[in-house]
């Protein structure tokens, strides 16, 4: 389909170039001028209602500002709380809650040097990477088999995987806990690395199935005729074309693992094996004492890696959501 489109678009481009060049010599300057002015006072409708400034402010800028404010305010709150001295934290009468006087790094110092926070960060990173890698490999095979091998009942398997994704973790953790105990991996990183794929694999499989579907079937048939085996088709043709899909599945998996809470809470007991979301909440809240400063510092630092990851791959991520393979 894409090739049809591009094939038909090239002559039209040539046509456009021709009309351009016919204007260029300026033999008929009057016509050229007319063309120019009509270009300026284009009375066509479409998006031009956005042109006047006051309208733009109200229809575009204002909603955008509200949106951005709603999204970013929690981060701002986290950031200022993390550097507020303790005496300012709840004293709204004497200090503005929206501003900091005499910022301090005490909370961050406490977090990094007097708690096991660095361990949590490392654990989260380690578990997220391992779980993501396992899930991606499994999902590639699953998605390829369901989407392209078309075995009997492949549709039902696809549906089954999707349904598995719908089982909430708060129910699934009970049988999983049993398995984790029996396998003897309770309170270790392995407990999380092996349980996270229960929700990552269905999700990534579903995403990759959609992506594989967008790759023309002829490419695979052509590779078959060219003498490639199924394995070679997967490695040399399909995967190189699925990189955007793999990246977005990877980012999603990584984020989901990074933020996972229930399994990390139930399967990990010792302080140095905890992940960031669980650690921050269980170790920095002592009965009814909330260490707000360190809590917020922990949350802020904990969210940075995901932000960085997203910002690097945002292009791939968007293209995999919107598009197919362009030939």
């Amino acid at each position: 389909m894409t090739s049809t489109h591009s094939a038909s678009s090239s002559p039209s481009r040539a046509g456009a170039a021709m009309t351009d060049s016919s204007h260029a010599p300026g033999a008929d300057t009057g016509a050229a001028k007319r063309a120019k002015t009509s270009g300026l006072t284009d009375d066509s409708a479409g998006m031009s209602y956005l042109d006047s400034l006051p309208r733009r402010l109200i229809t575009v800028m204002l909603p955008l500002l509200v949106f951005v404010f709603v999204l970013l305010f929690p981060f701002y709150w986290m950031a200022i709380t993390a550097i507020k001295p303790n005496y300012q934290l709840t004293d709204y009468a004497n200090y503005s809650p929206l501003w900091v006087v005499g910022p301090t790094l005490d909370h961050i110092k406490y977090l990094l040097f007097e708690t096991t926070y660095p361990y949590w960060l490392w654990n989260t990173l380690y578990v997220s990477f391992a779980a993501t890698a396992i899930s991606l490999v499994a999902s590639v095979f699953a998605a390829y088999a369901i989407e392209r091998l078309r075995f009997k009942g492949s549709r039902w398997v696809g549906l089954g995987i999707f349904l598995a994704y719908l089982v909430p973790p708060s129910i699934l953790f009970i049988p999983l806990a049993l398995m984790v105990f029996k396998l003897g991996i309770y309170d270790s990183k392995l407990a999380l690395i092996f349980t996270y794929p229960t929700f990552l694999v269905p999700f990534s499989t579903w995403l990759l199935m959609g992506y594989f579907r967008s790759i023309p079937y002829e490419l695979e048939e052509c590779a078959l005729v060219d003498g490639a085996s199924r394995w070679q088709i997967l490695i040399k043709v399909l995967l190189p074309l699925s990189i955007p899909g793999l990246i977005s599945a990877g980012i999603f998996s990584f984020t989901l693992s990074w933020n996972e809470f229930i399994y990390a809470l139930t399967f990990i007991q010792s302080s140095e094996n905890k992940t960031v979301p669980v650690g921050v909440l269980t170790e920095l809240v002592r009965s009814d004492v909330y260490e707000w400063g360190s809590l917020m510092a922990g949350a802020l630092i904990g969210s940075l890696p995901v932000v960085i990851l997203y910002s690097f791959f945002v292009d791939y991520y968007v293209s995999s959501m919107t598009g197919a393979v362009k030939e």
Partner: protein
């Protein structure tokens, strides 16, 4: 190079048969075109030769080997797909060398063969580009280059020109024909365009609803269509079919319900007095003062020729004149068929009489 023998091949999807027992002999080095309207099973047949579809019954031989159960990669064929199916993430050179690389050919040999194929097709300066940077015609050539590089026993083309614009299509048609004359590799070419079939083929196979209607050289099909379907499919503008009866009243003639009499070249046995279909190609109609009077309905001049639609009774006939005639709608002219250029078909079975 090899022969391809197709013997009583059938294909069914579930319980729906799509190809009903097809027999085709393809000789070594022959250019065979499978042609027919969409849904006639020609692409399915090609894909069965390629090994991309299972064969439900019968047998296909490439060379002397039955390939029914042989996977595509061991059939020693190369296929050009309708949308080219170039690997978007590989350069032109890598695309062309991919099959050799899979066979683990030495790099020097791959380069030599890719360069040779690129030279033949005029792609040498494009080897480092990616498919998305090429025009439609160039992509088409790369797809052919990929087939040439392999030096296979059989080339398979699946409507390779249908994504090109009309002008390029004519040019590529010539190029493919030249290529075949040069390489002399057995070729099976699928198209729905009868002009492509006529211009390129050594042998045309006309298919319709999963059945072979006729096999023959292009001009044989044009001159001696076996049935009404082939007669209507081959040739452009397509043949006129006039309903009427064969009558012998002194001289034998074909008489339409409105009483117009067309001359017959010969009177087939047992056709006298029966309903029949009179086939007359538009280009075989000529002005003849002694001919059948007809009324002009529409005149379409194209410069080199004039297409006129005329009416005989309730039936319309297309006529193609190479002369610059001044014709106007509503006028009456007299026409007659060129002698020896008429066809007669059975009104029921559509078979040639």
């Amino acid at each position: 190079m090899a022969t391809v023998d197709i013997r009583a091949v059938t294909k069914a999807y579930g319980s729906t048969p799509v190809i009903h027992g097809v027999d085709i002999d393809i000789h070594d080095g022959e250019f065979v075109v499978l042609v027919g309207p969409s849904g006639c099973g020609k692409s399915t047949l090609l894909r069965m030769i390629a090994g991309l579809e299972n064969i439900s019954g019968g047998e296909i031989r490439i060379g002397n080997r039955v390939v029914n159960e042989v996977p595509p990669k061991e059939r020693d064929i190369a296929m050009v797909f309708q949308n080219y199916a170039l690997y978007p993430h590989m350069t032109v050179g890598a695309n062309m060398g991919f099959s050799l690389k899979l066979r683990k050919a030495p790099k020097a040999e791959i380069d030599a063969r890719v360069n040779r194929a690129a030279g033949i097709l005029g792609l040498s300066h494009l080897l480092d580009r990616f498919p998305r940077q090429l025009s439609g015609g160039q992509r088409q050539r790369v797809a052919m280059g990929r087939a040439i590089v392999r030096d296979p026993q059989v080339f398979l083309f699946d409507e390779p020109l249908s994504n090109l614009d009309a002008k390029l299509r004519v040019q590529m048609r010539t190029e493919i024909k030249e290529l075949h004359q040069r390489l002399k590799t057995t070729t099976v070419y699928v198209t729905h365009d009868q002009i492509e079939a006529m211009t390129m083929a050594d042998k045309i196979v006309v298919m319709h609803d999963g059945v072979v209607e006729q096999i023959g050289a292009p001009l044989d099909l044009y001159d001696q269509p076996a049935n009404q379907f082939v007669a209507g499919f081959i040739g452009s503008p397509s043949m006129n079919f006039i309903k009427g009866k064969v009558q012998v009243n002194g001289t034998a003639a074909f008489v339409t319900p409105s009483g117009a009499k067309f001359p017959l070249d010969r009177v087939p046995e047992g056709a006298v007095g029966k309903d029949a279909i009179y086939g007359l190609r538009p280009e075989h109609v000529r002005i003849d003062p002694q001919g059948v009077p007809v009324e002009i309905v529409v005149v379409e001049p194209t410069g080199s020729e004039i297409l006129a639609i005329v009416r005989v009774g309730e039936q319309e006939i297309a006529c193609l004149f190479r002369e610059r005639l001044s014709l106007a709608p509503g006028e009456t002219i007299h026409i007659s068929p060129q002698p020896g250029m008429t066809h007669l078909f059975d009104a029921v079975s559509g078979q040639r009489l």
